[in-house]
């Protein structure tokens, strides 16, 4: 079969993205070659749930300007150019604010005196490993504390994925902004996890807008089913969005998660449910 990339997203934090991504990956791994990529680089959790051996780690760095004050004439071109206000000129020197820099290299391009040298700053690491039973590959990013720029690290995580693995499952971060876009761009299908509460529905609507705008195939998983109300179901029905799985709200499931134990490892009937869910998604992908 053709390699397929599925992202698991959902506007709301804590709605069960990681639970769905991890359990689906574990359920499929005995049948196909599978890798899971944790793109929630601010707070990655996949590696906590999958017992694994770490195999490699590589730092990810971005362009960071180094101002050579012997060459700098304080002309201010870089200051004027920088869209992010990361460079400020004071009477006799240049001040640089690393946390505002996007690493575009514009300052280096516009400097007429070659006073801006191309340095680098590490923004985080990407790590790769394999599950203890050897059947599931795992890649995740870890953003350095205090570093605001998640998207370039997310891209590094995605580039570290093996392109001929049968199934790649991406665990996306919460929200609907740039880190989410970086995580789901170009995937074959997005699974949107939600919970049946007004907050879950509110954030689901937002993320549905994102995936529609991006023209991606998508479906919904209702987590904590039985909790709250039925408005998520009527929304999906009215909008013709397929619900491919429901995970009920059960204390036992929450307890397992709290101990970092994936559902499918102790409740094996769930393995079949996640495989079925994947098959529904595969149909959706083929159907376009």
């Amino acid at each position: 079969m053709l390699a397929v990339i599925i992202a698991v997203a959902g506007g709301k934090g804590g709605c069960g993205k990681t639970t769905v991504a991890v359990n689906m990956a574990l359920s499929l791994a005995s049948k196909k070659s599978v890798q899971i990529a944790d793109c929630d680089v601010e707070e990655p959790n996949v590696h906590l749930l999958i017992k694994h051996k770490l195999l490699w780690e590589k730092p990810v760095s971005l362009f960071s300007p180094q101002f050579n004050m012997d060459k700098c004439t304080l002309c201010g071109n870089c200051v004027k150019f920088c869209q992010y206000h990361a460079i400020v000129k004071v009477p006799n020197k240049i001040l640089f604010f690393q946390e505002l820099c996007h690493g575009c290299e514009g300052c280096a391009f516009v400097c007429p005196h070659e006073a801006v040298e191309r340095g680098e700053k590490i923004i985080g690491v990407v790590r790769g490993g394999v599950s203890e039973n050897g059947i599931l590959k795992l890649v995740y990013g870890l953003l350095s504390i205090g570093e605001p720029r998640a998207p370039p690290l997310i891209e590094a995580v995605r580039k570290s994925c093996n392109s001929d693995t049968d199934v790649t499952i991406i665990d996306a971060p919460p929200g609907t902004s740039c880190p989410v876009i970086a995580s789901i761009k170009g995937v074959d299908h997005v699974v949107l996890v939600t919970e049946p509460t007004p907050m879950g529905l509110h954030d689901l609507k937002l993320i549905v807008n994102v995936v529609r705008k991006m023209g991606l195939s998508f479906s919904v998983v209702v987590n904590k089913a039985g909790l709250g109300d039925d408005k998520v179901y009527s929304f999906c029905k009215n909008e013709n969005i397929p619900i491919v799985l429901e995970v009920p709200y059960e204390r036992r499931i929450s307890e397992l998660y709290s101990r970092g134990i994936p559902l499918v490892e102790v409740m094996s009937t769930w393995r079949e449910k996640f495989v079925e869910c994947f098959e529904l998604i595969s149909e959706a992908v083929k159907g376009g």
Binding site: E43, P148, G175, S177, C178, T197, S258
Partner: protein, 292 residues
């Protein structure tokens, strides 16, 4: 002086907004406050506080490049200098473009211009608890940190103009740019966690972030603590190691979900529920911390 209480969580879904809304409800009976929802890309505080929007403004988070096909000579210079891989086949991928302007600078025929992008809206509203500032980032837009800063600026302005005593900020999950913007200038940081392995892992990173920015008044509340008492003990220990005080252990309480479904802060939906009672004590502790 206006004090600022910021509520964050590291991990999403730990109950930040439910706790914030209850704190706002309790605080408003003794203090004049301003509420601010800084979770701009998935804001939900308004679901519970039901604000009436009084003022609305457009927000442009950044620029976006536009290529004039008529002028373009297909030299590909723009495509090769773009650090964000935002130009493909001489078309701008608006989701990748960060509006830096390097392409416009390098273009030999001035075929590229930078335009303001429409990134979202910012609102000033009225609630029964006091004014509320909130925002809505358009789907897929970037620069949420800048929008968060704006929401906080508006909240501070209102607080100063109306001589209000407290700003309660409901922050976003994570530790990236919108979180950094949310905690900037906070007098008191409350981190809501849950007794799960991920909750603990993410809490540590959130605490380290606050310490990185040299915050000293960092406090923790463990929500749904009784789902896993052993993990709660572990979190209490981890907090002690970081020299961070655990102010409250809030019980798992179905009433909190019922309150959300009924679109009310939990303390108003049922003021005697176990959760409400603990939140009241949490607010009392926060109040005395804010008063010192």
């Amino acid at each position: 002086m206006v004090r600022e209480l910021v509520v964050i969580s590291g991990k999403g879904g730990t109950g930040k907004t439910s706790v914030s809304a209850s704190i706002i409800s309790l605080a408003s009976s003794t203090l004049k406050l301003v509420a601010a929802d800084c979770d701009v890309d998935a804001s939900t505080l308004h679901v519970l506080l039901k604000p009436r929007v009084k003022q609305e403004e457009k927000f442009s988070g950044s620029k976006v490049a536009r290529i004039d096909k008529g002028k373009c000579i297909k030299c590909m210079a723009c495509q090769s200098v773009c650090r964000f891989d935002a130009i493909n086949d001489l078309g701008v991928d608006i989701y990748s473009c960060e509006g830096c302007g390097v392409c416009a600078f390098i273009c030999p025929v001035d075929a590229i211009t930078l335009e303001d992008r429409d990134s979202g809206r910012i609102f000033v509203s009225e609630t029964k608890y006091g004014p509320m500032c909130h925002a809505e980032l358009l789907p897929g837009e970037s620069n949420s940190g800048k929008l968060v800063s704006l929401v906080k600026q508006y909240a501070r302005k209102i607080a100063e103009d109306e001589k209000r005593e407290l700003i309660v900020v409901d922050g976003p999950p994570g530790i990236g740019c919108p979180v950094i913007s949310s905690i900037a200038g906070a007098d008191l940081l409350l981190i809501i966690t849950e007794p799960t392995m991920s909750g603990l892992h993410d809490l540590r990173r959130a605490i380290n972030l606050a310490q990185f920015f040299r915050m000293t008044k960092i406090f923790v509340a463990i929500n749904m603590w009784d789902i896993n008492p052993e993990m709660t003990t572990e979190i209490v220990k981890a907090c002690a190691d970081e020299k961070v005080e655990v102010l409250a252990k809030l019980p798992f309480d179905k009433k909190v979900v019922d309150a959300v479904v009924n679109r009310m802060p939990a303390v108003e939906f049922d003021s005697t529920s176990p959760f409400s009672q603990e939140v009241k004590q949490l607010w009392d502790s926060l109040f005395s911390l804010l008063s010192t």
